[in-house]
Amino acid sequence: MATREQSERSLRLQLERDAPNRLKQAGPAWKEATMGFYYGNTQNSEISVDMAIRASTLRLLHEDGTGLPPKIWKGLVALVNTSTTAAAAIETMRFATAHGVPLTPV
């Protein structure tokens, strides 16, 4: 489970890696931009956004040693798409981590 600050840090790290030019363009208002601003608005962009959200959420879950049930993953990627703002994506990721289930150590 993640705090808003952790969630924000994880998504920003993802955007720094995937869309550094767009992040620079957005500047301090980066959280107000839509995910489409960073990943474009083509058919593949929805896949790009899903991947970014998955990677950002997985990073948070790894920190906690938790995992998400498949239905939560499904809901998470359904709620975040190219028209979702980064701020809303951060909040949705945070909601998702609340549903995290501790992973049994192997």
Binding site: F37, V77, T84
Partner: protein, 656 residues
């Protein structure tokens, strides 16, 4: 002169620094808290009703040491708590948390309040005289009392179709810097939050059926009329106006008349208490016996079951969407080959009027010559072009987890999609002739795609491997052939900059809600896409029963092909697509090599019928060359048409 100048400059600098420092001073903070303590391994609220609540006050400047000692020994009063203009009798004292070690900060104060205090009213802290260590005498007339939490009713909380209660304790140091100013402050706050989150977690986890039955969840569907209950007699002179039996009074619904949903569980979604404490929030899905309305609605929730302070207030959420909206799909692609087009949308339906040049045999006007003459004439016919995935497309996305925090500068992963059934067809008016063969094909099959995402970014690089097994036949289903196809389409980010992705960062009139207009910049370049295509086919005819004369049995198919698709979008809403494919056939074939060209210009019209999952366009296209099975002289066709595409419309489709 120089000295004087330096002196004036120094004085100005000191003054400016002083003013700036003074201007940056954060305002004092005050928080209403519930006296919670650890007892028998569990956090419980105090049994001392006189000190059930307390207001913790954080001051910016330390209090003068002498005044501090006098206050500590109850010799003086320097402030208190007031409700409006009325000062209350609860004394302001030194907070027990002011001296975590031997050294007291002299900035923390406290006012205890009884359980009976009416918290629906607004209270303020005041200081008549606050003498700082610097010797200043400050006066604070009204320090408003806040809370450490924010409770809300949420709809997009991943509780499937249920609403959720969120109690968020996270502190924003930028907005409330004083309560987390020192390590000791942070430790005190962390312990308080641990106590409260634990207490609330236990409360919500332990609710029994009788308590849940009292939880009042009301919904107000926004498109339905609320009518008077059955026991009220009324007339409805005009729709929506309900006159009571006296004929004068109009019935107006109250909250009690709204549909009520019975709550079956409020158990926190947070798997463990410790996880909730770490994340500093509790999320409880509000599970109900009956589902929420399918139309948009408002909702209110109250818990009249003596809940913790954080859940006392009635919660409200307005404008909850009955159905999740999904963003619009991308606009149409224009690859025209029946049976060889990729599955990307659930529905692609186009109506065309086709004008083509055909070879026609005519009687020779010279009566002495028996041989007919061949002339080329332009003919026009109507065509329906339909692509449909009746069961939708199922897809999965994977991310390479090994490198989430590593130094690799790119995100890699995979996208897998499967359309169990697809129908790809073109059906034309008129008889099937050699020239209309390619316009009368019906292909039914299954298709899968593996997309390796090499670099997830604004302009990503990915490699598409598309496999397809299909059965192709003529319009009348009289000759059938099976075919297995494999295709590889690498999309390189450096040479693929679609206009839609460029425009996403350009200025526009209406952006998303809350989106800043200052983040956009104008790009002068248009979009461009260059996608090479390499593929192979294997198949043969397996059924033949008196087909049209023009439909010949096809040879066993063994071929490879390669091509290039170029999409140029120089201006908004106009798309130029150029596709050229070269075929090479193996075995005994009538044609070893063949070429097919398709060029089109498309005017994109946007959403279709206000449906965000469908779009439409008008197009002109020109086709020239031969396509499998190369049985005729090829096409030379000019088209004008209208197209509708839709995505994620059917049963199995999930969100990508």
């Amino acid at each position: 002169m120089n000295r004087l100048y330096l002196l004036i400059t120094a004085v100005c600098l000191i003054l400016a620094t002083t003013i700036m420092a003074h201007g940056q001073d954060p305002e004092p903070e005050a928080y209403l808290r519930v006296n919670t303590m650890l007892s028998g391994g569990q956090y419980v609220e105090t049994s001392n009703d006189d000190q059930y609540y307390y207001v913790e006050i954080y001051m910016t400047h330390p209090l003068d040491a002498r005044v501090y000692d006098d206050l500590k020994n109850n010799k003086i009063s320097i402030g208190g708590i007031a409700q409006g203009h009325r000062e209350l009798s609860y004394p302001l004292q030194i907070s027990p948390d002011d001296c975590p070690a031997d050294d007291c900060a002299r900035t923390h104060f406290r006012v205890y309040l009884p359980k009976t205090i009416d918290l629906s009213k607004t209270y303020e802290i005041f200081f008549d005289s606050y003498r700082t260590t610097a010797g200043d005498n400050l006066r604070y007339r009204a320090i408003s009392i806040g809370t450490d939490y924010k409770t809300s009713l949420e709809d997009k909380s991943l509780c499937e179709d249920a609403l959720a209660v969120k109690i968020d304790f996270e502190t924003d140091p930028a907005k409330t810097p004083l309560k987390v100013r020192t390590a000791a402050d942070r430790a005190v706050l962390a312990e308080y939050l641990r106590a409260r989150i634990s207490f609330i977690y236990d409360f919500l986890s332990g609710l029994n059926a009788a308590q849940l039955n009292l939880v009042d969840l009301r919904v107000r569907p926004l498109k339905s009329l609320i009518k008077p209950p059955a026991e009220v007699s009324y007339t409805e002179p005009t729709p929506g106006t309900f006159l009571l039996a006296d004929g004068v009074t109009t019935w107006v619904p109250t909250e009690a008349d709204l549909p009520r949903l019975y709550v079956t569980s409020l158990r926190p979604a947070n798997a463990t208490k410790d996880l909730a404490i770490n994340s500093q929030f509790i999320l409880s899905c509000v599970w109900t016996r009956k589902h929420l309305p399918t139309e948009d609605f408002n909702a209110t929730l109250s818990l009249p079951i003596n809940p913790p302070r954080e859940l006392v207030k009635r919660l409200m959420k307005t404008g909850v969407a009955g159905l999740t909206t999904i963003s619009s799909p991308a606009l149409p692609a224009t690859n025209e080959k029946v049976g060889e087009r990729t599955v990307e949308q659930d529905l692609d339906l186009a109506f065309s009027l086709i004008s083509s040049v055909e070879e026609v045999e005519k009687k020779n006007p010279d009566p002495e010559i028996c041989d007919p003459i061949k002339t080329r004439e332009r003919k026009t016919r109507g065509t329906i072009d339909l692509r449909i995935n009746p069961l939708g497309t199922r897809s999965w996305i994977f991310v390479d987890e090994d490198d989430l925090n590593g130094n690799n500068e790119r995100t890699t992963g995979a996208y897998v999609a499967w359309a169990p059934v697809f129908i790809d067809s073109k059906v034309s008016t008129g008889k099937i002739t050699t020239d209309t063969l390619s316009l009368n094909r019906v292909v039914i099959g299954t298709q899968g795609e593996y997309r390796y995402i090499y670099n997830n970014s604004t302009f990503p690089t990915y490699f598409r491997l598309i496999g397809r097994f299909s059965n192709a036949s003529d319009r009348d289903f009289k000759q059938a052939e099976y075919k297995g196809t494999f295709e590889f389409r690498p999309v390189f980010g450096k040479v693929n900059h679609p206009l839609a992705s460029i425009q996403a960062a350009q200025p526009r009139l209406i952006g998303a809600e809350g989106e800043s207009k200052n983040i956009y910049k104008t790009y002068k370049r248009g979009g461009y896409e260059f996608i090479p295509i390499v593929g192979g086919e294997l198949g043969r005819t397996w059924s033949r029963r008196d087909p049209a004369e023009a439909v010949k049995p096809s040879d066993a198919v063994k071929r490879v092909y390669g091509g290039l698709e170029i999409i140029l979008t120089p201006i908004t809403n106009t798309k130029i697509t150029l596709t050229d494919t070269f075929y090479y056939n193996f075995g005994e074939v009538t044609k070893r090599r063949a070429n097919y060209f398709n060029g089109s210009i498309e005017f994109l019209l946007g959403e279709f019928l206000d449906n965000r999952r469908a779009a439409h366009s008008v197009f002109f296209s020109f086709e020239k060359g031969q396509q499998p099975p190369f049985a005729n002289a090829g096409v030379n066709v000019f088209k004008i048409g209208y197209r509708v595409v839709g995505d994620r419309l059917f049963l199995l489709s999930n969100n990508r």
